[in-house]
Symmetry: C2
């Protein structure tokens, strides 16, 4: 582990997994609309959203997927991780009050570059709402030792 | 155009482009930390962030990239668009006070499926900070006509 309590590349093995869960509230959707600039009617106008196939407001896909960022930054690999890329497929809508669980699983490790590929899946109950893959750069105990010596 | 003033698939041509710009403020970073659950020290703790190679707090990559969602939902293809997927590579840090411009450009169109691939690039001044590709489903004037008849 690094000094921030995040995993070093030497600590990681394919198959290691961690999760972060968060209820997506009406307040989160409003805050996200303001922070992103995406104030599309489907997210903030219930009267309009009722007339769509969704039948009511839905969360921004990016808001739902941002729980992946939380799972990676807070849990696995945790603090010290630098995001390189993220791909995401939006599979099903998330509604205000739904609890999203973001699960990240180590898929592949390139030790000499301290790079890790993670499978990233967001679920609401049994429904997969977002799935994809992240590549991150993590800290390395070997590099810390080399620098210190 | 559809009834929401968004583009139908019939209106789109490869090369069409639109942009959305937003200054990423300290408030946005705090709001995003709350909405996403990602309260990593690099985003919210200036004293810690000063000790890192970044030299101070940086915005969440997902927050920067969420301006793409705004450009797509508000501008091109605009209201009525449904997000299918987004890939993003995080290339450079964004700091509080930086103004991010998200530019989306039509790359490829599959008319019979009403699917559009967009190139998505976020810049701060001349620096590309996020780049990637989105796939979206758009409305179709032909389908509306077919339904109405």
């Amino acid at each position: 582990m690094n000094e921030l309590n995040g995993y070093d590349v030497e600590d990681l093995q394919p198959g290691m997994s961690a999760a972060f869960s968060k209820t997506i509230t009406e307040a989160d959707i409003i805050l996200f609309a303001g922070a992103s600039g995406d104030n599309n009617a489907i997210h903030i106008n219930e009267e309009f959203a009722k007339t769509t196939p969704f039948g009511g407001r839905i969360a921004h896909g990016f808001l739902t997927a941002s729980t992946i960022s939380a799972a990676i930054a807070n849990r696995l690999p945790g603090p010290g991780t630098v995001y390189i890329s993220q791909g995401m497929n939006f599979l099903a809508p998330v509604r205000p009050g739904d609890t999203v669980q973001a699960t990240v699983t180590v898929k592949d490790i390139v030790p000499e570059r301290a790079r890790v590929t993670l499978r990233t899946v967001c679920t609401v109950g049994d429904t997969v709402v977002v799935e994809g893959e992240a590549i991150v750069k993590v800290t390395s105990a070997a590099r810390r030792l080399a620098k210190a010596s």
